[in-house]
């Protein structure tokens, strides 16, 4: 076989594997979330379908697929149908640049364990995370419902208040790794993860990522007790399921981003790299679930204040200080 053909085959294999693993993880994350939330609230969570409720995701999918796919009257039909896919696909696409293991040697050539090693991976991630909000904005807009519209307005205004600090929290990482490629960022953390080198950036990034995932305490776009279900109020069946799965895929993506930027990616002692990576991602996901069990929802204006008046100045200051220190070290 010729060299390009092998490369193409490898990319397709990696795509399929990543796709399968991420979707399976997302489905089981729903179950894990319900279980862990249940235990934290002194309940059992789902425990009826299969042993310990392990088949609950399957039952959920069957239920969602067999439900009616409802389109409200006067909805903007095509945008309405298109929006859930946008939020799930943008979440999935992000995974293309995430390095999930050390390079492997196959057929005598070194295969990087990443679907595509973009040299602007960080920008790609930031760009896609901004595009992801279109799913929410368009879904809410096209539903022709005031609750959905309010939800998408909140989603957009939330985006501009956390996206800035998220981008600025990544800047020190890029400065320390001297590269926009996620692979190089992981390589730069071989000895010591950036979490220890720059804990302030880590905290800012973690909080912004919580807001990005649109989960409690920043779940304003879907605030159940104010907006029914926010932007996906009018969605039913598998379209709602796509929004739902998109949220959990997003959780995994953001977990892996935290792992790549601050927890040292796949670096770790004893265990193989891929396993370390999955452990770190799941740890971040557990933190997301834990936060959901612990904190109440912030008010609309509180999030804006927090993002603009607290996170942004600290992030800016952090960039300056990191730059100064890097300059001093040389």
């Amino acid at each position: 076989m010729t060299e390009p053909l092998i490369t193409l085959a490898l990319i397709i294999v990696k795509l399929v594997v990543v796709f399968g693993v991420v979707l399976t993880l997302a489905a089981n994350l729903v179950l894990a979330e319900r279980k862990i939330l249940g235990r934290m609230q002194l309940r059992y969570g789902p425990n009826r379908v299969g042993p310990f409720g392990m088949l609950q995701p399957l039952a959920d999918v069957i239920k969602l697929i067999t439900k009616e796919d409802f389109i409200p009257a006067q909805a903007d039909k095509w945008i309405f149908l298109f929006a859930p896919g946008l939020s799930a696909v943008t979440a999935l696409l992000t995974f293309a640049v995430v390095p999930f293991g050390p390079p492997l040697t196959l057929f005598g050539q070194s295969v990087p364990m990443v679907v595509i090693d973009l040299n602007v991976g960080v920008l790609y991630f930031l760009g896609l995370s901004s595009v992801a909000v279109y799913g929410i904005a368009l879904g809410g807009w096209a539903s022709n419902s005031k609750y959905a519209l309010l939800g998408s307005i909140r989603g957009l205004s939330q985006l501009i208040s956390y996206e800035l600090s998220m981008g600025l929290a990544v800047v020190p990482v890029v400065m320390m790794a001297k590269s926009f490629s996620l692979n190089d960022i992981v390589m730069a953390q071989e000895k010591i993860p950036f979490l220890l080198l720059n804990p302030v950036a880590f905290l800012i990034f973690l909080i912004s990522v919580l807001a990005e995932s649109k989960r409690i305490p920043f779940d304003l776009p879907e605030a159940e007790n104010e907006l029914v279900a926010g932007f996906h109020t009018e969605y039913s069946g598998m379209r709602f399921g796509l929004f739902f799965v998109g949220e959990y895929i997003n959780m995994i993506i953001l977990g892996s981003m935290v792992a790549v930027f601050f927890l040292g990616g796949w670096h770790g002692p004893v265990l193989p790299g891929v396993l370390w990576f999955i452990i770190k991602v799941l740890l971040v996901c557990f933190f997301f679930i834990w936060t959901r069990a612990s904190l109440p929802r912030l008010r609309y204006d509180q999030l804006m204040h927090f993002g603009w008046k607290f996170l942004l100045p600290i992030a800016l200051l952090n960039v300056v200080v990191t730059g100064a220190v890097l300059l001093a070290i040389g």
């Binding site: 934290m40 002194l42 309940r43 059992y44 425990n47 834990w290 069990a293 612990s294």
Partner: protein
């Protein structure tokens, strides 16, 4: 500035939820673990019989009048010996709220509550109990009471022959 209070208020819930995660859930796994109900728990209704083995219900409709959710219905009819009884008697247990007001209203102690609460099923029509389903072969709570022996109607035995009952007055014995 309440910054320390705020930071503590943000971090403390994490500790609380983490502790709760390792405690035993308070959930009762119902179908496998039966709940420990109070001995006088009110649930499924029954129609009892008097000590002689006859139906107690005289189809007076007081229970269906007392029922706040209107789940009891019946048709009254009279037998040849003068006994009133229900031609059909129906309780819709999909509506019944187990309040027990029918048993309080019943003048003959016919309708009574039992502790059997496990009525769940997939077919609501199976919860519409007919007289055959409701009628039991015992006296329920009171094993002595027999309405027709207390009421002075000459149905169970001729008038004046029940225990503690005096003979009927002959209204014509003062006539010349």
């Amino acid at each position: 500035m309440h910054i320390w209070r705020d930071i503590r208020g943000t971090l403390q819930p994490f500790w609380v939820t983490l502790c709760n995660m390792f405690r035993k859930p308070v959930t009762q796994k119902y179908p496998e673990e039966k709940p420990d109900l109070p001995p006088r728990y009110r649930a499924r209704l029954i129609l009892t019989r008097d000590p002689d083995g006859n139906e107690r219900c005289v189809a007076c409709h007081l229970c269906s009048a007392a029922c706040p959710v209107d789940c009891i219905s019946m048709q009254a009819i009279e037998a040849e010996d003068g006994r009133r009884y229900a031609q059909w008697f129906r309780i819709n247990f999909t509506r019944c709220i187990y309040c027990g007001m029918c048993t309080e209203a019943c003048p003959t102690l016919a309708i009574q509550v039992t502790g059997d609460f496990e009525l769940a099923g997939r077919d609501p029509l199976k919860l519409v109990y007919e007289k055959d389903d409701l009628l039991v072969d015992h006296c329920g709570q009171n094993t002595e009471y027999n309405f027709y022996r207390q009421s002075g109607i000459g149905v169970a035995v001729p008038r004046g022959e029940n225990p503690g009952e005096s003979k009927p007055v002959d209204a014509k014995d003062l006539l010349p």
